[in-house]
């Protein structure tokens, strides 16, 4: 039996939601797609770590070092368990952008090494002219630009799956875009700008059919719905901690063990080595191979607390709550004159990020009027500039509710939109 989300109770757990903004208006935070707010449990966990166990991890012969290492590796196990993974398959990074770069650099680094030491690399990661990399037209820049760079360094060609006017992937083109030349397919699970939830299993299936590796950007899905990384059918899955109640400064990359084993290091230096000589080095097994330097220990502890908080709520309940808010927001926006939703208008296979444009008003000006009512939203191209171009808009306004939002928050946002329309006379 699903325990419904109790927004009033949840709000009490988030200190920032008690504050006011702009002339003492209560904060209505509808920008969780950018970053989520943090409950006390996360703040307490980080503070407790620093107060009691702070030390370098995986080194030192003292008790604190042991406790810090336990905290770090314990956090890894907790976060891995949240997505159905094994701890050894989970790499901590700085953020999801770094996770995706780690994946893209595996290809360009392997390609560079293959020139001088062909036996040192796994051929699956070696790209050459004639090969293709496939993304979609709804990628966040973080899952587009690193692949453009990989192409520029290797001579591979970037291809993408286009979009329908409804904001869905044009899957009719799937088999022609992903073909025998394709070496890697990297797609977003849930679009941060359109809200679309993509059928990544089918896309990953097609990738594997042609012998390509599959990568999924799960930044906007793992915080909002139950996700088992194995169910996605991908080889690598990237996401961030700060969008799921965790601290900034920590991202995740899950990889199938065999794939991580085959990948060359990304950032190199301390902690990621096995042996070091003046002439050469050998590298640690994953995940350590990809965690050079002092890691984000306190952040991992905070993120583990965030995961426990979400687990207590139940991700099914989180998804159901957001589904209700999404349906409500779509309905309210449809009622407004001069408002166009950018992305799926039906509440099917879509998440809670809802983008729209208002006739005659620039999103910056809409956002300013929402801000005047205490409503925090994102305006701009949402790091998905090509997606905006696809829909012929320079930018959008986006509301992205989460567990601490209710229908009344959506209502206040609608009031802000109408106030802007009235003020500008549109």
């Amino acid at each position: 039996m699903l325990q419904p989300i109790d927004v009033d109770r949840i709000r009490k757990d988030f200190p920032i939601l008690q504050r006011t903004v702009r002339d003492n208006r209560p904060l209505v935070y509808l920008d969780s797609g950018a970053t989520s707010q943090k409950p006390m449990a996360v703040l307490d966990a980080e503070r407790a770590f620093y107060e009691t166990s702070n030390a370098g991890v995986h080194r030192g012969a003292h008790q604190l070092a042991e406790e810090a290492t336990d905290a770090y590796e314990g956090a890894r196990a907790t976060i891995a368990g949240f997505v159905g993974a094994q701890p050894a398959e989970l790499v901590f990074t700085k953020n999801a952008t770094e996770s995706l770069n780690l994946a893209a650099y595996a290809f360009s680094n392997a390609t560079a090494k293959a020139v001088h030491a062909p036996d040192s690399v796994d051929r699956r990661f070696v790209l050459s002219p004639g090969d293709s990399i496939v993304v979609t037209q709804m990628e966040h820049h973080a899952n587009l630009v690193p692949w453009q760079e990989a192409c520029a360094k290797t001579g591979a060609t970037l291809r993408w799956i286009g979009l329908t006017d409804e904001g869905r992937l044009d899957l009719e083109a799937l088999d022609s875009v992903i073909d025998e030349t394709t070496r890697v397919v990297s797609v977003v699970h849930q679009s941060n700008i359109l809200g679309t939830i993509n059928p990544v299993q089918a896309i990953m299936g097609r990738a594997h059919e042609v012998g390509a590796l599959g990568v999924v950007d799960a930044c906007q899905s793992i915080p909002h719905m139950p996700v088992d990384v194995h169910d996605l059918g991908a080889d690598l899955v990237a996401w961030s901690g700060h969008k799921m109640l965790g601290p900034t400064g920590i991202g995740l990359l899950w990889g199938r063990s065999e794939v991580l084993q085959a990948m060359p290091p990304f950032v190199s230096g301390g902690s990621m080595i096995e042996t070091v000589f003046m002439e050469h080095s050998t590298y640690a097994e994953p995940p350590k191979r990809f965690e050079a330097g002092t890691p984000m220990v306190a952040q991992s502890v905070g993120l583990a607390a965030a995961v426990r908080y979400l687990d207590d709520l139940g991700m099914d309940a989180v998804a159901a709550h957001e589904h209700d808010l999404t349906g409500y927001a779509l309905g309210q926006l449809e009622e407004l004159r001069g408002v166009r939703i950018i992305g799926p208008r039906d509440n099917v296979d879509r998440g809670s990020a809802v983008s729209f444009v208002v006739d005659g008003l620039h999103p910056h000006d809409v956002g300013q009027f929402l801000d005047d009512k205490g409503v925090a939203v994102r305006v701009g191209h949402h790091c998905a500039w090509p997606t905006c171009r696809r829909f012929g808009v320079p930018a959008t306004t986006r509301i992205s509710p989460y567990i601490y939002n209710d229908r009344a928050d959506i209502d206040i946002a609608m009031e802000g939109i109408m106030a802007a329309q009235k003020f500008f006379g549109v």
């Binding site: 002339d23 620039h362 910056h364 000006d365 300013q368 005047d372 701009g380 320079p394 930018a395």
Partner: protein
């Protein structure tokens, strides 16, 4: 400070009825500036007429603040000599960094004094400055103002 004080009537008027919004026939310099966080764009072109006074053309797309700022700027500085244009630009940049505490000089800034409220909204300062940064860059590319300042300011 509320949102109505940000959007003064002068700003709304320039947004809805932009002045001189066209490109020059024969620009000496041009600059296309983009605000990469929101996609606001403005292209500013400059030249000098036979008396050494500034010619300014522009086009762009974006929020009311960025587009009104371009309109106000072009109306203000067109016809100035380059040194006057520099004075106005410096005064406007200073106004934007005043956190709203400055008392702008209407003799120098004309309608641009209406942007005083923008300085209280850090996220919007870039919008208001965008055309002025384009003007500075376009002048530098055209070699305008270099003699007065001794160095390029771009």
């Amino acid at each position: 400070m509320n949102v109505e004080a940000l959007y003064q009537d002068i700003i709304l008027d320039h947004y809805k009825h932009p002045r001189g919004r066209q490109l020059l026939a024969d620009p000496a310099g041009e600059s296309h500036q983009v605000n990469p966080t929101c996609g606001d764009e403005v292209t500013v072109q400059v030249g000098l007429d036979s008396d050494g006074h500034l010619l300014v053309g522009y086009e762009g797309q974006g929020c009311s603040i960025s587009q009104a700022s371009a309109s106000v700027m072009s109306e203000l500085v067109a016809g100035f000599d380059p040194a006057q244009g520099d004075d106005a630009r410096r005064a406007f940049v200073e106004l934007m960094h005043s956190k709203g505490a400055a008392e702008p000089d209407e003799d120098v800034l004309g309608d641009a004094v209406a942007f005083v409220g923008v300085a209280k909204y850090p996220a919007r300062i870039k919008c208001a400055l965008l055309p002025w940064m384009a003007l500075q860059d376009a002048e530098a590319k055209a070699g305008i103002g270099i003699a007065q300042e001794g160095t390029s300011t771009s």
